[in-house]
């Protein structure tokens, strides 16, 4: 058994940023990584995925992308290599190929059992990410055996799919991107669309991420949001990182020949049933997008910067076919595959502490885990700020929480 002040679980952007902050405070720690640095990015995403955020936004407090294409979007391989370089830059004490088996509390301390021995520590940082498992709804089990269910962790590229029709469930970044590439591969895609967050890739000549940073939206603190629990559940922005910086929205997907249907609500034998609320789900997305664009325009007007940007404009509302089918026969439409682009969820199966609510969500206040002194979490959506789950959010959150952790250690020592 080894002793250390702090164990950080996970060597992605969150764990590495936290390690950097602890090193700066001379707090001894170790970063446990089940595989290699940036494993989720490298091994658990689809092949064509690129970051949704531009390269200039791929940055830590004192370390950033400095390549030739600041407005481009990194491939997963490039993200992994960027994080590996950052780990070296920070001299992060990473123990690779070390899987955590359990975390338990023992007399004001934590016992972390791993495949490479055990650690006793005073604080634990859960930096294993929010995307460990595909979030697949129970209805997947009701689909007939003739249909393969594929989660986001299994999907790599269209070539792995059987020939035939594909039902993509979900219209956030993952669903929209996968629907596009599968349709382009020659398989007819039907995409089931529930609530989603529509944003244009660029607006008035700038990347939408640039606007969200400039207007301060990315820095909105969790304490200033009306309903933080709801904000933390909002789906990812309907975006894609590509060379042509094209929008990916319901209108553009429909133009590719994708069938757009409502939220998947049920299955009766081989009939998939979709919600008739599609029009409202799209109306909500259009309204929210226009509100965001209005916020941007207001910001520009207040600063009298109109001459520096392209003129104000608005995008076409989402077009919904009045005859959108509510039922869809899987066999007569030759559906061979269902891709569940219904989000990710964290895996806390090894966390043997009473910190999860009835839905399995970790209870925390800005990353400080409730009722469990010395336990912290990182990288969750809107954890401390809107950008908390972005690479760009890791340093700030790590600094705040490391400060809290350090004073906690001092108090214990006193």
């Amino acid at each position: 058994m080894r002793c250390v002040s702090t164990v950080i679980i996970g060597a992605g952007q969150s764990g590495l940023a936290f390690s950097h902050e602890l090193t700066a405070r001379s707090i001894d720690h170790v970063v446990l990584e089940r595989a290699e640095v940036a494993n989720s990015w490298k091994a658990e995403r689809w092949d064509s995925l690129r970051l949704l955020t531009p390269n200039w936004q791929t940055r830590f407090s004192d370390y950033a992308y400095n390549g030739p294409d600041p407005d481009g979007y990194m491939s997963m391989k490039e993200v992994a290599s960027f994080l590996k370089d950052y780990a070296a830059y920070c001299s992060a004490p990473v123990e690779t190929n070390t899987q955590v088996l359990s975390v338990t509390a023992a007399d004001f301390e934590y016992l972390v059992k791993t495949t490479n021995g055990d650690w006793l520590c005073q604080s634990v940082v859960l930096a294993s990410g929010a995307c460990n498992k595909s979030n697949i709804p129970g209805i997947a089990n009701e689909f007939p055996n003739s249909v393969s269910n594929i989660g986001l962790h299994q999907y790599k590229n269209p070539e792995q799919l059987e020939d035939g029709g594909v039902l993509v469930v979900g219209a956030a970044a993952s669903g929209a991107q996968i629907a596009k590439e599968v349709q382009t591969s020659g398989r007819q895609v039907t995409m089931s669309v529930g609530e989603h967050v529509r944003v244009p890739r660029t607006y008035r000549g700038r990347d939408i991420c640039w606007w969200m940073v400039a207007t301060g939206l990315m820095d909105t603190p969790y304490t200033e949001v009306d309903d933080i629990n709801r904000a933390r559940k909002v789906a990812s922005l309907q975006l894609m990182g590509s060379d042509d910086r094209a929008d990916i929205d319901i209108n553009s997907l429909r133009a590719l020949g994708i069938n757009i249907v409502g939220r998947l609500q049920g299955l009766r034998e081989s009939q998939a049933l979709f919600s008739g609320a599609l029009k409202n789900h799209c109306a909500l997305a259009d309204l929210k997008m226009n509100r965001l664009l209005g916020t941007i325009d207001e910001w520009v007007n207040e600063r009298e910067l109109n001459s520096e940007f392209d003129p104000v404009h608005r995008f076409h509302d989402t077009k919904i076919d009045a005859n959108t089918p509510l039922q869809f026969d899987l066999s007569s439409n030759d559906i061979k595959t269902v891709i569940w682009a219904t989000g990710y969820k964290p895996d806390y199966s090894w966390l043997h502490l009473p910190v999860l609510d009835r839905k399995g969500t970790i209870c925390h206040d800005g990353g400080i885990v409730s009722n469990m002194s010395g336990l912290y979490v990182m990288g969750l959506p809107f954890m401390r700020k809107r950008k908390s789950s972005y690479i760009d959010g890791a340093s700030g959150d790590a600094a705040d929480l490391a400060h809290h952790l350090a004073s906690n250690l001092k108090r214990k020592a006193a």
Binding site: E195, G266, A277, A283, L284
Partner: protein, 188 residues
């Protein structure tokens, strides 16, 4: 928006504090959020049926209003009926109007928007070849439902559209009509 109204206290007759309080309480005690709504009906004659509505279950116990409502339904004369009351499908459309309008009023109160009038005009398309069993490919129920709102309020068109969109998002009857529900019918 008129400036004289901007500083006035918004009152749509909705107790938002009570609703927000209930939301918080039911988040902590999900079992109390389990409600059962009930109606009982008696056939009168012909296509005329009358329903009685009073008790429901909620907040962990039986709730008694201490009074009874009646909703009657019949069919019109073009169906060779006596036309004593609206058709059941019109009552369903009334339910949608009532639910969406209650939502608009509540959300407007929460967003501090004063309403002056809210009128919903609803139309449901029905092909009678379905219920008459003429064509098996035609469904019995509505082919489509269209709701048109006329809202007079101290708010921009965009804010009013957002009210109506949010009201649909949180409406029980909208959900009932747009999504399938398992229905179990038994004979005692």
């Amino acid at each position: 928006m008129t400036n004289t109204q901007a500083t006035a206290i918004v009152d749509n007759g909705v107790n938002v504090e009570a609703i927000l309080g209930a939301r918080e309480a039911l988040d902590a005690t999900p079992e109390a959020a389990q409600f059962k709504w009930r109606v009982s009906s008696d056939w009168v004659n012909g296509t005329h049926t009358t329903t009685k509505i009073n008790k429901f279950f909620g907040l962990g116990e039986e709730q008694d209003r201490g009074k009874e409502f009646a909703v009657d339904m019949d069919h019109p004369e073009v169906f060779a009926s006596e036309d004593n009351a609206p058709t059941p499908v019109e009552v369903v459309l009334s339910g949608l109007a009532g639910c969406l309008s209650a939502g608009v009023a509540t959300i407007a109160q929460n967003r501090e928007i004063q309403l002056r009038s809210v009128r919903a005009t609803i139309e449901g398309d029905m092909d009678l070849q379905g219920i008459l069993g003429i064509d098996e490919d035609v469904r019995n129920g509505f082919g489509a439902i269209r709701v048109k709102f006329d809202i007079d309020a101290d708010a921009s068109d965009e804010d009013i559209n957002a009210l109506v969109a949010q009201s649909q998002k949180r409406s029980a009857v909208f959900d009932i009509l747009t999504n399938p529900t398992n229905v179990f019918v038994e004979v005692n």
